[in-house]
Symmetry: D2
Subunit: 280 residues, 4 copies
């Protein structure tokens, strides 16, 4: 079990009344427990908690008036250890997949798995199915791409990235997801906080459904997966933007942190009220 102190502080310059949607909080679920969670805004606003459906993502919505606006979030998260018998994990036959997992086989905006069927089968079809094949896909993507901030835009898709051989964390994840889906393996995009990520920022990675649940992978290898705390999951980055702004506002500052270890106030930590939590 690991204990992570994490949080972020985001500051905006708001020109006209703007509606913000934030996906920056960590939900409590089978993979992680959340303690001492807190939000602060300056000026003070009440945040509306939206549960955007099946995925368990907790979205916070707030209508902000012109001026400078800052939102802060912090929490202590315990990550439950996953048994390391990874090599026994299997790809599940389509007929046996849970119904709510089927949607993660469909192509999505940035993951055009329908276009890469033959590419995926030609490249990975001969490998032994299971955990090792999914890891081989992540390794292949790691070697195929160069991590290059600025080389992609918000409209770049897995096919674009495969051709240009460069990208950032979301692009690595999109390409892995696309190749998995093309092989019939459910895969989804996950955002989160990552211990030891340099420079510190929100992180994007991917989860693959194996045996009986979702497992995290990170083709960037920028930080250890064992230090990832999930924020939300979606089909691809279109679903889990950290901040969606409807209106006129510019980002000014942006701090994110995640460190391992017991925080000063862990001794008297208090569980979050249940009604503030979602489960994935």
């Amino acid at each position: 079990m690991k204990v992570i102190n994490l949080g972020c502080q985001l500051t905006y310059s708001v020109m006209a009344p703007a509606n913000f949607l934030f996906q920056i909080s960590v939900p409590q679920n089978n993979y992680q427990s959340v303690w001492n969670e807190g939000f602060q805004t300056t000026p003070e606003y009440e945040l509306q908690v939206c549960d955007t459906g099946l995925l368990g993502n907790r979205t916070h919505r707030v209508l902000v008036q012109p001026g400078e606006f800052t939102i802060g979030y912090q929490a202590v998260v315990e990550l439950y250890q996953v048994s390391s018998l990874d090599t026994d994990l299997i790809e599940v036959a389509h007929a046996d997949l849970p119904a709510d997992v089927l949607t993660y086989l469909n192509p999505s905006r940035y993951c055009e798995s329908d276009k890469l069927m033959k590419f995926a089968w030609d490249t990975f079809g001969y490998l032994q199915p299971g955990y090792s094949r999914v890891q081989a896909i992540a390794d292949w993507v790691h070697n195929h791409l160069s991590y290059t901030p600025g080389s992609t835009t918000s409209t770049s898709s897995a096919c674009d990235v495969l051709l240009q051989c460069s990208g950032v964390c979301r692009d690595y994840a999109h390409l892995c997801i696309t190749l998995c889906r093309a092989l019939g393996i459910p895969a989804r995009y996950v955002t989160g906080y990552a211990v030891d990520l340099q420079p510190p920022d929100f992180h994007g990675f991917h989860e693959v459904y194996l045996s009986d649940r979702w497992y995290m992978f990170d083709a960037t290898k920028l930080a250890p997966v064992s230090g990832f705390a999930r924020i939300g999951a979606g089909r691809d980055a279109a679903d889990v933007s950290f901040a969606t702004i409807i209106g006129a506002a510019d980002s000014m500052y942006h701090y994110v942190w995640a460190t391992e270890g017991v925080s000063d106030n862990t001794d008297n930590r208090q569980p979050m009220p249940n009604d503030a939590l979602s489960s994935a």
Copy 2:
């Protein structure tokens, strides 16, 4: 209130054990009641009912052995009349949209709304928001495209279709959905049965969230919207394929029907058991 007799019969030649996913049945919900529903397969198989999540689509899954395989479905559906005060319907401010509707603002595989933001605002931004603007989008798409079977493939997206100026029903719907989302109006893809569609087939159209619920539109104008019975809804056609086949099987025959009027056995019609129904 309209009563529709509808159904389909699909025959496949199965070469090796194949897993089928069908989205051909009509769910009971606020828009439609379903009576005397029935499935038959030859040879006889038990169909597994999957509820694929939030959308309420009912998917039927069956693992089929080699040989000829036929699935039939029929139902009597009552469509509830929608008041015709369409011109009063409003576009809902982002801050007021229900949380479960937000996902239909995101771009999806065949609806790259992130690429058409300026196009949509330049073309429709000056129009009065509300029902009339959404109808104007459907009219524009109707005029911009030529209905041309064979002009698109299963990988064609809204951007492709906008450039090539031709497509079939799914392409019309994808382009409308994309333009709506680019304007901040939630829109989704719907499949269904359509009375008076020539030639008879499954149909694809789109729904837009206005005022307080989803309203149907059909840019193809091939059949009256008042005769549409919904099968399922999704982000785009990737989510609501009529038949998904994992394995080796070819489609042989394919009949679809939908006719208005009281069927012979309406008098002694029986409601479907509740546990077989989904709600949208």
Copy 3:
């Protein structure tokens, strides 16, 4: 007849021996005479004049050693007036087009006219053929796009630009060329110097073959066509890059000028030697 003083000065930081190809000089041809042309480089290098084929573009090639490198070019150009009976210009029937013009009907890298056939015919097919239709295309592109530096990259094509509704001069030209070719009207990309362009820079525009020769158009409307001196022509921007660098070098400064009027040294102006000239 107009007299234009024009030129440029380009400075690079060269890290390792690099081969430069410049297309910055103005060729003498039926549209323009060139006087008092001169090149200077610091340090001093001999420039190799390459005539890159059919188009008459004059390319200067030079292999540069590490260090700072500056190339300067200046000339006095007389532009021959074109009679203004533009409305009489006709689109030439395919059977009557000169053979060397046919290549400008083919799609090219940034002008995918094969993808926009129906779009072009639907939008402009009903217009009276001739000069006015070609002008209508330029006007349509002018209105459809917003001039937005930074909105496109070196890989953006006419289809990209049509969808995103923004671009810079090369994008305006590419879209016009594409729509013309799709209608069967030969069109090509031209680079040049433009009097009164703000901010001063090289310019990209397009030429269309009407009646019996090429006519210039500029959908950006940033400067009067009557003050354009041609550098080179090609299928699209891929053919007429101002500077192509093979090796490690960065651009440091970049000045371009073009002003109308008699220069101080016009009285004793000397014609360029013929062997230094190309004809288009």
Copy 4:
């Protein structure tokens, strides 16, 4: 030296007066001599010979009236043997490339070399430059693609083909050309007749500039390169379509042949008049 008998017969149904451009004849040049060449049309028309510029392609143009129209072409071609010291062929430094070859470094419609720079360098950059690297590219493309008639359309580009892993001869050539250009190696598309091609048809392949001239390669490996007679060369398939039709006409029949060996009438063969020939 090889002697090839070759030709074709193409029949069209012409609905309205249509202008045809044919690129089906074999030019005389340094690589091949042409004897006993002949054209026939039914009904009889005079063919206009167009020399479409730098490339030496001979295009025949004819305006055809409604009705059935057949064009036939046949020739005897001697192919000059190329010395087989292929492994000595070198890639030419950019500074030393002939000026008329530079254009074949530019990206073109179906060969987006500007998009595959990093892909090409990552995959082939570590290989020894020269003939063996160009052959390695052709071998890689041969293995990466499956030859699948119907898998691509007339708008498919090298990037499309790289992603979908299938195509026909023109797609193999486009991908090879694109990868070569991305590495700075001039490459172009060539059409021709091929001995032993099954089924017999026109063929598309590619040429690469090495040492001091163009060398043929064929990534499809469907027929021996030593039996290829060139029709024309261009940047990609956009430049060398076998038949371009402006007007309303449908292809009805289409025969192509190319066989090695002395034809019956070789003994009294007559050289073609010079004015009917082009040189590449």
